[in-house]
């Protein structure tokens, strides 16, 4: 069981800053002005677009950058109308689209800029603008995904295995697969998935257990109509037993061959029945035991070790 403290979150941000490219978080919808734009018009441009600065473009070429600060200085010095060209900064530091964010962070840090025009490496063409706000927003968006997973880990009913004192601990779930509309296929796997996540198992283990159960559940629905799923969760493994009183499997070795199938056509319309069921279960499981008697039924025992 992993704990996700501040330190780990900080490490995740550091990794992201190296992993993410400028192009992934910059604003692409760039507002620009021309050198001839009047300073008196700049105010409404900045205000209406809610931006704090803009590149000054002569055709495709960046000739300067003008910010709210330049505007305030201009006002302070009397606000006599003139073209932007006379008030803009002409020393424009740009950043290339495919550079890692860490590069941009260090430029902001050293130079105190508010924004960086982003250019394409090959052509030098302006493709976006990057602000500190864009960086923060981009990082938060990427952290959101891992955060959901983290939340699930903290919402376990939990530390259950760590906190209980006993020589042996197991949590048991039991589900019935009922004869009913085929659309219900997968509802057991779905319920099991939610339960295992709440127990705080690693997402990859939950995924394997859900996939194996889903395939087994579809097999029961297709061939036997009804059955039971019993899941035993122990600290070192998840055991899933799927039992039915269906027709049984005449040749288990063949049934395990990828692509071998005896499924009727209507099953194919559901996206199953292509002979991948048992092989799929096998690839999710550390161990798969099949006990089957023709005319009496089939019991699958799927063992998934906790190691990822």
């Amino acid at each position: 069981v992993r704990s996700h403290g501040l330190a780990e979150r900080a490490t995740a941000i550091q990794e992201l800053v190296y992993e993410l490219r400028v192009g992934a978080v910059m604003s692409r919808d760039v507002i620009t002005v021309s050198p001839e734009t009047r300073m008196s018009d700049l105010r409404s441009i900045l205000r209406d677009r809610r931006i704090s600065g803009t590149p000054v473009m002569e055709g495709e070429r960046i000739v300067g950058i003008v910010s709210v600060e330049d505007f305030i200085n201009w006002l302070a010095q009397g606000g006599i109308d003139c073209p932007v060209a006379e008030r803009m900064s002409t020393q424009v530091r740009t950043i290339v689209e495919d550079e890692p964010l860490v590069q941009a962070v260090s430029v902001f840090d050293r130079r105190g800029y508010g924004r960086l025009p982003v250019v394409e490496r090959r052509t030098g063409r302006l493709v976006g603008v990057l602000t500190k706000g864009d960086i923060i927003e981009g990082l938060l968006r990427r952290l959101e995904v891992s955060h959901t997973e983290e939340e699930l880990r903290s919402y376990r009913a939990s530390h259950i295995f760590r906190d209980m004192v006993a020589d042996q601990i197991a949590v048991r779930f039991r589900y019935g697969i009922h004869d009913g509309p085929i659309e219900q296929g997968g509802s057991v796997a779905s319920g099991l998935k939610k339960s295992l996540r709440r127990l705080g198992l690693h997402p990859e283990i939950v995924r394997r257990a859900a996939i194996a159960t889903y395939e087994a559940e579809m097999n029961v629905i297709i061939y036997a109509r009804e059955g039971t799923v019993t899941v035993n969760v122990q600290p070192e493994r998840v055991e899933i037993e799927v039992a039915d009183r269906g027709p049984g499997i005449p040749d288990i070795a063949r049934a395990l061959e990828p692509g071998y199938t005896t499924a009727p056509d209507w099953v194919r319309e559901l996206g199953f029945g292509a002979g991948m069921g048992l092989p799929n279960i096998q690839s999710c499981a550390g161990q798969l035991d099949i006990a089957s008697t023709v005319g009496q039924g089939t019991t699958l025992r799927i063992m998934i070790p906790m190691e990822v």
Binding site: E183, S190, G271, M276, N280
Partner: protein, 121 residues
């Protein structure tokens, strides 16, 4: 972790000229790896987790398969519209649904050209 930066789901929708069947939720989600198949067992057996399932199968099993394999979004091909209960199941399980007029081949070609990776060999 995938190497490509990927695209937002909204950008993927734009590339595929796809409309959303589940509103604007999750349209900001990053899509890096796509799984494309009409065989749900094939989807289930791809080892790598995908961010989007591209399929022409529009029944509840497509949504269940996505749910079970941690795939947060599905794009249906040939402008196929799933039944209302399938959309409801997707909403309930938090899976975004799109539909595109494109064929499997053309949808995949467009996604590959945009730098999206596939799962499986």
């Amino acid at each position: 972790m995938a190497t490509g930066v990927g695209l937002k789901l909204a950008q993927v929708a734009q590339i595929l000229e796809a409309g959303s069947l589940t509103g604007q939720v999750s349209m900001d989600r990053m899509i890096r790896v796509v799984c494309a198949s009409d065989l749900m067992s094939d989807v289930l057996c791809f080892g790598r987790r995908a961010d989007l399932l591209v399929t022409s199968l529009t029944n509840a099993q497509a949504v269940r398969t996505a749910e079970v394999s941690d795939i947060p979004a599905i794009c249906f091909l040939h402008d196929k519209v799933p039944a209302a209960d399938v959309v409801a199941l997707a909403r309930e399980t938090g899976i975004a649904l799109l539909r595109t007029p494109r064929s499997m081949f053309n949808a995949c070609a467009a996604l590959a050209a945009a730098g999206i990776e596939g799962c499986g060999a």
